[in-house]
């Protein structure tokens, strides 16, 4: 059992090292997040009170769009030199490979989110620091939902035509419940309402989504990778 976690860790460290040397996915993702934030300022008056109310939704749209760029690269990076075949042939289980890659993606997606959050706060006058621990919890849970679904679908779409289009096409509809929960919770938190009552059940839903999709992915990943 210990060796399983070591295998996961090796894959995670490998992926992070490869990404930190080129920074291609993270840079693209951050730049993209900034561009969307800019576009939103034209679509909604940034200093209007109503924009504050929908800020949770805006933020998660930015995260979902920018996150997909990171996730898209996760398996695509292994394609040159047939690295993916070598990884699959390696003496580790598909679940370990998947979990390793998912953890690496998680770190990257979270990094993009944590950088985009203050930028969003500055540009849109949102008080994200007031209830930061709760907000961080929502970010952690929402990012994991995005990562786990995105990683398994990244494996699914790695060598098909129109990969860049197919990944968001498949991921976003599946993510609807998780994104909705994260949006509701974030909107409440940045508007000064703590998690309680109604929003607590959104939190439970988000946790449930994470657990279910992690479990299903771990069961099905072997089928996806090996066939």
């Amino acid at each position: 059992m210990l060796s399983f976690f070591r295998q996961v860790l090796v894959v995670t460290v490998k992926d992070l090292r490869a990404e930190l040397r080129t920074k291609e996915a993270v840079n693209a993702s951050l730049a993209f997040a900034l561009v969307i934030l800019l576009m939103f300022s034209f679509a909604f008056d940034p200093l209007e009170e109503t924009t504050r109310e929908i800020s949770g939704g805006l933020l998660w749209i930015v995260f979902a769009f920018a996150g997909t760029l990171v996730l898209n690269r996760s398996f695509a990076r292994e394609q040159p030199n047939d690295c993916l075949d070598a990884l699959i042939a390696a003496p580790i289980s598909g679940a370990a490979l998947f979990l390793g890659k998912a953890l690496a993606n998680y770190v990257l997606v979270l990094a993009v989110e944590l950088i985009a959050l203050p930028v969003f706060g500055i540009f849109y006058g949102v008080h994200w620091t007031d209830q930061f621990p709760e907000l961080l919890l929502v970010l952690l849970l929402g990012a994991w939902a995005l990562t786990v679904v995105g990683t398994i679908f990244s494996a699914l779409t790695v060598n098909i035509r129109l990969r860049e289009v197919m990944l968001p096409m498949l991921t976003y509809p599946i993510l609807v419940p998780a994104l909705m929960g994260a949006m509701q919770l974030t909107a409440g938190l940045v508007n000064g309402k703590p998690i309680s009552g109604d929003s607590f059940s959104w939190l439970k839903m988000l946790i449930g989504f994470d657990v279910i999709f992690t479990a299903v992915s771990l069961v099905l990943v072997e089928t996806v990778l090996v066939g």
């Binding site: 699914l156 609807v176 419940p177 059940s201 099905l220």
Partner: protein, 224 residues
């Protein structure tokens, strides 16, 4: 033999539908909504037929992953396409009803949104299939995605329900006063839809099997 049975089933479905339309046209108009209420005799059965299709597609997908028999893959894709058509019919009839009663074509209500998300999920399934060339990989990946989609559907419905709902409460089987012959008409319409669904699925299934045979013949021809 199979051909004759298929044609027979198709004819029965058509006759049943024609009969239902005549009978439903003969019903008196509903007190508050008038004639447009009668759209429910189609709106509800197509929704149920679509749900049955989703369940059949899950069974086909799981069976394919277990047995690797392409028959099940063909079943999954055929039944998903038919289900998508049913769900589209459900959305369109609902939209027409909404235009008359609510005055708007669409509202982001719980049921409407979840039906649309389901439609998009299964449309994504078909798009995924189109994008993969290699048959075994196509069947495997599509089956995996179908399982994901099916698991997601209840979560979507359940979570969107937490928003305020504008959709009317269930008319049939929801505890209301509906005349007995109206129930019967709805049930018979459901039967007609299911029969129609079976016929369409089998036709599509044969197409899929013929396509696979053509593909394999082509590959054999290229091998020489």
């Amino acid at each position: 033999m199979r051909d004759k049975l298929l044609v027979f089933l198709g004819v029965v479905a058509m006759l049943l539908l024609a009969r239902d339309i005549l009978v439903i046209a003969g019903f008196p108009n509903e007190a508050n909504q008038g004639a447009i209420f009668k759209i429910i005799f189609f709106h509800v059965p197509v929704a149920m037929a679509a749900m049955l299709c989703a369940a059949a597609s899950l069974i086909g997908s799981v069976m394919f992953l277990l047995t690797r028999n392409f028959k099940y893959d063909a079943l999954a894709v055929s039944v998903t396409e038919v289900g998508l058509a049913f769900l589209a019919a459900n959305l369109v009839t609902g939209s027409i009803w909404g235009r008359v009663i609510w005055g708007i074509w669409w509202t982001w209500d719980a049921r409407l949104t979840s039906a649309l998300v389901c439609w998009l999920l299964y449309a994504g399934y078909l798009m995924l299939r189109h994008a993969i060339e290699e048959p075994t990989q196509r069947a495997t990946f599509a089956a995996v995605f179908s399982i994901f989609a099916f698991i997601d559907v209840p979560i979507v419905i359940f979570s969107i329900k937490w928003w305020r709902t504008q959709h009317p409460q269930p008319v049939f089987w929801g505890g209301g006063s509906i005349p007995g012959d109206w129930y019967l008409a709805a049930l018979l319409n459901l039967l007609a839809m299911v029969l129609l669904g079976i016929v369409l699925t089998v036709v599509r299934l044969r197409q899929e099997e013929a396509q696979r045979e053509i593909d394999s013949l082509r590959r054999t021809a290229h091998a020489f």
